[in-house]
């Protein structure tokens, strides 16, 4: 019997080995399969999405439909319906990007239909279903005067769209169309010979009001647009203001249903309003200059609402329009965090059983929208988040307990006695808190929220967002909750760098007890000079506040060395090539490394790239010295992208193993910068140049030109490779090209790379691939140590976010399939888009403007934050989660198996001893 058992067991053994081999095979196949997908039950587990509409341009209450809502049209070319009660988006239609989708007029909501006019020449008129958001009709307006689209005024009333164009020195042309079908109904010319290019005109339907004259003597002229026989009426400024008013005057139409204009005088100190009609009625009452006005009708009576904002208090004063009698039951005053000099953009005051209840939609200066009812703020939307310009992801601080331990083992004092005291003290404290919790005392209010602490794997972080409105947000990554918000008033992005605002992390949260610190670099709105604003990215507390620098910023850089309190200084380069350090205390440390510090600048308008060395600096002052200059012909070529590597990136492997077991060393130059120029003008329109430049030595490493190629160009630069996308005009498709740089089989310097010592040019491998979708943005993943393979996160125009393995765009993919290298797939011209590599599944995000990636505490995992009109956050694991157990790991099975093995071994032990006993008896 035993031989059989043995042979059988041998077979099992063999089988087990086979199973193992099979497993390896499965793993290998899995590697090539490259599937990175999500399971369905993981939906929303570590991702979230937030939808926004953007800064409100037009708004209107829909009181006609059964479900009450607010219709808005925004600067981001979005038409949306918001829920009246909660502010949530009921439906949202995203129109074309930029100029082609710019919304020019919105109207007809009070009549039960919604008509929008958008786009350039010719404009598109679209009629939408109010309730569902479907399109009903669409037609283009045939425009005769192409260059005058900005002067055109639109008026939508009773299913008719009026296109109002002033013709200088003669008349106003009013063309009426049926807003549904686009049929031209009537064209009228109303004589208005006074209109010139400088005349300030506003539309107060059915009149066009124009202010003519200089600051000393001005006349308001009113033209009835629908009556061709009428003569323009004129009202002098003196009849409105009485004697003694001073110019310059400014004309504005007052929002609301009534035709009313407001004129401000005395340098915007006061204003007065004029009720436009057959006989214009001026209201003889001064209104403060900074009040914003709105006219709402309550029981067929017109009420004027004046909104003022002072010291955080928003005050809405209501008064009867004609009699100026104040109405205290409608007037309100609110103090709320999310209001900042708001204006009423839409308002309704329906009469209900309890009386008149007014609802006001307020748009604040910081792009946020709020609904006010009575004295209560019903909801607020942070629409500034639709326009994010800078992102950083910051680690959260340690919990209070960990911080105590940290202070306990502080390295600075090594005295035995003091350490002893500290130990006892902290233990007493711990005992005290324990007792308190035992006796159910209320816990001490901590200065931070309990859940905002670092987790084990460093996955819970804080996203710091800077928006174009100058508002900063801190959002935690787990649920996407806004933790803090901060307004920085009077700043704007660098106008030379397409309104970019720069955000630097000067000190992370690892240096307890020093608080983390971020710095914002921007321009002053009035002077255009640079400003620095420092704040705590975890709590949102300003640290040094707004610091005006008094010079214009040309370039800036975060130093890689820290001061004694772990603060990294910022090197700022002004337009006169002077170097400054912020904060001043970091000057000494900056001077100590000045020998090896280089700065480069790129000027988009002149096409000049220059490199500066700081090696002439003294310990008191930093002196810059130009070392190289390069001119990229500005007439034909415009610099559109300057892309350097992510400064926190680490490269784990120095080379690549070839099939013959030799190593091809990577050319890892941290100073390498990719510069893309696109052709301008007629003859060079469709060319694209890409240069690889060493920013320290000014050496041109590589350059490539593409003909018959146009933007949009997106560049990713990492490790020793560059991946960029463009549109191929000849084949009419999007292509992705990749470059890879190698030093060769010998590494020039194994420890540190020097731009000045290395003269040999690298070997450049390159290849291009067809990409079957339009690209909005691209970014590479990044991990803590760079061991994990790199993927490229690609935002597609159809709303998907694709995780594309770098392996797919590897320029060493062999065209000849017989040449095999480890981990290289044979070349195929088209990169397939796998549906399961779309990391945001059906949570489409539109108008993506950027992707931010950040390493987590786990080597395998990278955090991805996508911003645009929507915000989306998730995490990806390019090489799968090799460092943590899978979340569906079967703990029960392993416990059961181990227990069963243990039990069975005891049973067999028993059985064996019994058997031995029996045999002994034989």
């Amino acid at each position: 019997m035993a031989p059989f058992v043995r042979s059988f067991r041998g077979n099992i053994h063999r089988f087990l080995i086979d199973v193992q081999i099979l497993q390896y095979l499965i793993i290998l196949v899995g590697l090539f399969n490259l599937s990175l997908c999500l399971y369905e039950d993981q939906v929303g587990k570590f991702d979230w999405k937030q939808n926004y509409v953007g800064k409100i341009k037009f708004a209107s209450f829909d009181t006609v439909s059964a479900a009450k809502k607010i219709i808005v049209a925004t600067e981001e070319n979005v038409i949306a319906a918001l829920n009246l009660k909660s502010g949530q988006i009921l439906w949202r239609r995203v129109l074309e990007k930029g100029y082609a989708g710019q919304i020019r007029a919105l109207g007809g909501v009070t009549d039960g239909d919604l008509v929008s006019v958008s786009g350039g020449v010719p404009a598109i008129v679209r009629a939408w279903d109010l309730a569902t958001g479907h399109i009903l009709h669409e037609w283009p307006i045939a425009e005769q005067n192409h260059d005058r689209i900005k002067d055109v005024k639109w008026h939508i009333k009773d299913g008719t769209l009026h296109h109002i164009l002033p013709i200088y020195n003669s008349a106003v042309e009013v063309t009426s169309y049926d807003s549904k079908t686009g049929d031209k109904l009537k064209t009228r010319r109303v004589s208005a010979p006074f209109i010139t290019q400088e005349t300030e005109c506003v539309l107060v339907a059915p009149y066009l009001a124009c202010l003519k004259g200089d600051s000393s003597l001005a006349v308001l002229l009113l033209v009835h647009l629908f009556d061709t026989h009428s003569q323009p009426q004129s009202v002098t400024i003196n009849t409105i203001f009485g004697a003694g008013a001073q110019g310059p005057y400014h004309l504005e139409s007052v929002l609301g249903e009534e035709p009313i204009v407001s004129i401000s005088a005395d340098n915007n100190q006061r204003k007065r309003i004029l009720l436009v009609g057959e006989v214009p009625v001026p209201i003889q009452r001064d209104i403060v200059g900074d009040a914003t006005l709105y006219v709402v009708s309550v029981d067929n009576e017109n009420i004027l609402l004046e909104t003022t904002y002072k010291n955080g208090v928003t005050e809405i004063v209501a008064s009867e329009l004609l009699t100026s009698k104040s109405m205290p039951n409608i007037s309100t005053s609110v103090t709320h965090n999310s209001l900042l000099s708001p204006t009423i953009i839409a308002s309704v005051c329906p009469r209900q059983t309890k009386g008149v209840t007014c609802r006001h939609l307020l748009a604040s200066e910081d792009h946020s929208v709020a609904l006010l009812q009575h004295n209560k703020l019903i909801w607020a939307r942070e629409e500034a988040l639709a326009n994010v310009v800078a992102v950083e992801i910051i680690e959260l601080p340690m919990s209070d307990r960990d911080q105590e331990i940290e202070t306990e083992f502080d390295q600075k004092e090594r005295d035995v006695l003091s350490m002893m005291f500290r130990r006892v003290g902290s233990q007493l404290k711990q005992a005290k808190t324990f007792l308190q919790s035992m006796l159910s005392f209320t816990p001490q209010q901590s200065n931070q929220r309990m859940d905002l602490v670092r987790d084990k794997f460093g996955l819970h972080k804080m996203i710091v967002l800077v928006t174009s409105a100058g508002k900063l947000y801190g959002i935690e990554t787990r649920k996407g909750e806004i933790i803090w918000q901060l307004r920085v008033r009077g700043i704007r992005g660098f106008s030379k760098r397409s309104d970019a605002i720069i955000l630097y992390v000067q000190r992370g949260s690892r240096h307890f007890p020093y608080p983390p610190q971020c710095a914002l670099l921007a321009e002053d709105k009035q002077t255009g000079e640079g400003i620095v604003y420092t704040f705590n990215p975890i709590t949102g507390q300003p640290l040094d506040g707004l610091v005006k620098l008094g010079y214009r910023i040309k370039q800036s850089m975060l130093l890689h060395v820290t001061t004694d309190d772990f603060l990294r200084g910022i090197l700022i380069f002004d337009i006169r090539d002077k170097v400054h350090v912020y904060p001043k205390s970091a000057t000494a440390i900056a001077a100590s490394i000045a020998k090896n510090t280089y700065i480069f600048t790129a000027d988009q308008t002149t096409g000049i790239l220059s490199g500066y060395s700081l090696s002439y600096s003294t310990s008191q002052e930093l002196i810059s010295h130009k070392v190289w200059e390069l001119l990229l012909s500005p007439k034909n070529q415009k610099i559109t992208h300057v892309v350097s590597k992510n400064p926190i990136e680490r490269v784990h492997s120095q080379g690549r193993v070839l099939s013959d077991r030799s190593v091809l060393y990577k050319y890892i130059n941290p100073n390498l910068v990719t510069i893309v120029t696109e052709g301008v003008g007629h003859t060079h329109k469709n060319t694209l140049n890409l240069y690889l430049l060493d920013a320290v030595s000014g050496a041109m490493i590589f350059s490539i030109m593409h003909k018959r190629v146009r933007g949009p160009v997106h560049v990713v630069h990492s490790e020793n490779w560059i991946v960029y996308s463009y549109f191929n005009e000849k084949s009419r498709r999007t292509e992705i090209a990749s470059l890879e740089l190698y030093e060769g089989k010998i590494q020039s310097n194994t420890t540190v790379f020097s731009s000045l010592a290395t003269t040999k040019l690298p070997i450049v491998e390159r290849q291009a691939f067809i990409f079957p979708a339009a690209i909005e943005s691209m970014r590479e993943t990044i991990t803590e140590k760079g061991i994990t393979s790199k993927h490229i996160i690609v935002a597609l125009a159809n709303g998907g976010i694709l995780e594309l393995p770098w392996m797919m765009v590897d320029p060493r993919r062999p065209i000849n399939p017989e040449v095999r290298e480890e981990g290289v797939i044979p070349y195929m011209p088209e990169i397939p888009i796998h549906m399961d590599a779309i990391i945001n599944y059906n949570q489409s995000v539109f108008r993506v403007s950027g992707i931010h990636t950040s390493p987590s505490g786990l080597e395998s995992t990278c955090l991805v934050f996508v911003h645009g009109l929507d915000l989306f956050y998730t995490r990806v694991a390019p090489s799968k989660t090799f460092d943590v157990l899978k979340e569906d790991f079967d703990y029960y099975l392993i416990v059961i198996v181990l227990a069963a093995l243990l039990i069975s071994s005891y049973i067999t032990k028993k059985l064996a001893s019994q058997k031995a006993q029996k045999q002994a008896w034989k």
Partner: protein
């Protein structure tokens, strides 16, 4: 040196590009056209308001078309040229179509072939966009199956020896099979120490048993 090189480059660019532009100029006309078509929902279970989730995009967002309630759409203000028309819907895959409008305003719709761009397979115009398949974004989580469980190496390791110990002795009592087995055994002779014996001896601990076991093995041989 680089400057001159780049300059040289530009000269090459400028000369080579002139002819290209000349070509393009020919079909530039100011007339604007309208692309029409209809999008069909996924037959079974198209959710309410699928028209709202869907829009049509020409050339990756240069022009948009929105769906009416019946699924028809128009893309207006399109100059003559070539356009890839894609249906954007988060739930279904639609095949893109290339629409070409020549300077005289003639329309031609064809299948998109990015690799062989000159190949023409015409499709009817006005466009009819039908869904190919629903999107499959998710991996299917492995279901718990009996076979999977049984072929799990851990389970195999546990159950098979048990089976062997419990069942084989009973079969062994049959003399014929015994003979067969002995024959079989002659073919496959392993010199490996037997796992079970090592384990049992280790667990039972004593030297005695071990020697006994060896003896027993000897006897059997």
């Amino acid at each position: 040196m680089y400057k001159s090189a780049i300059f040289l480059l530009f000269i090459i660019v400028s000369t080579s590009n002139k002819c290209v532009i000349a070509e393009n100029d020919e079909d530039t006309s100011t007339d604007l056209y309208v692309i029409e078509g209809k999008v069909f929902p996924w037959e079974n279970g198209a959710p309410n308001g699928w028209q709202l989730m869907t829009h049509v995009m020409a050339n990756g967002g240069e022009h948009y078309g929105f769906l009416r309630e019946d699924g028809t759409f128009i893309i207006s203000n399109v100059p003559s040229g070539s356009y890839i028309i894609e249906v954007v819907n988060p739930n279904c895959v639609y095949e893109p179509v290339r629409v070409e409008i020549n300077s005289k305003g003639k329309f031609r719709a064809r299948k998109v072939n990015l690799i062989q761009t000159s190949q023409v397979i015409q499709v009817p115009y006005p466009l009819k966009m039908r869904p190919l398949t629903p999107f499959r974004y998710f991996q299917v989580r492995e279901q718990w199956r009996v076979t999977d469980f049984l072929f799990n190496p851990m389970v195999l390791m546990m159950i098979l020896p048990l089976l062997l110990i419990m069942i084989i002795p009973k079969i062994m009592n049959d003399p014929e099979t015994r003979k067969e087995m002995e024959q079989l055994n002659n073919f496959t002779n392993y010199n490996m120490p037997e796992m079970s014996e090592v384990i049992t001896s280790f667990l039972s601990g004593g030297e005695k048993q071990k020697s006994k076991a060896v003896k027993a093995a000897k006897k059997r041989q």
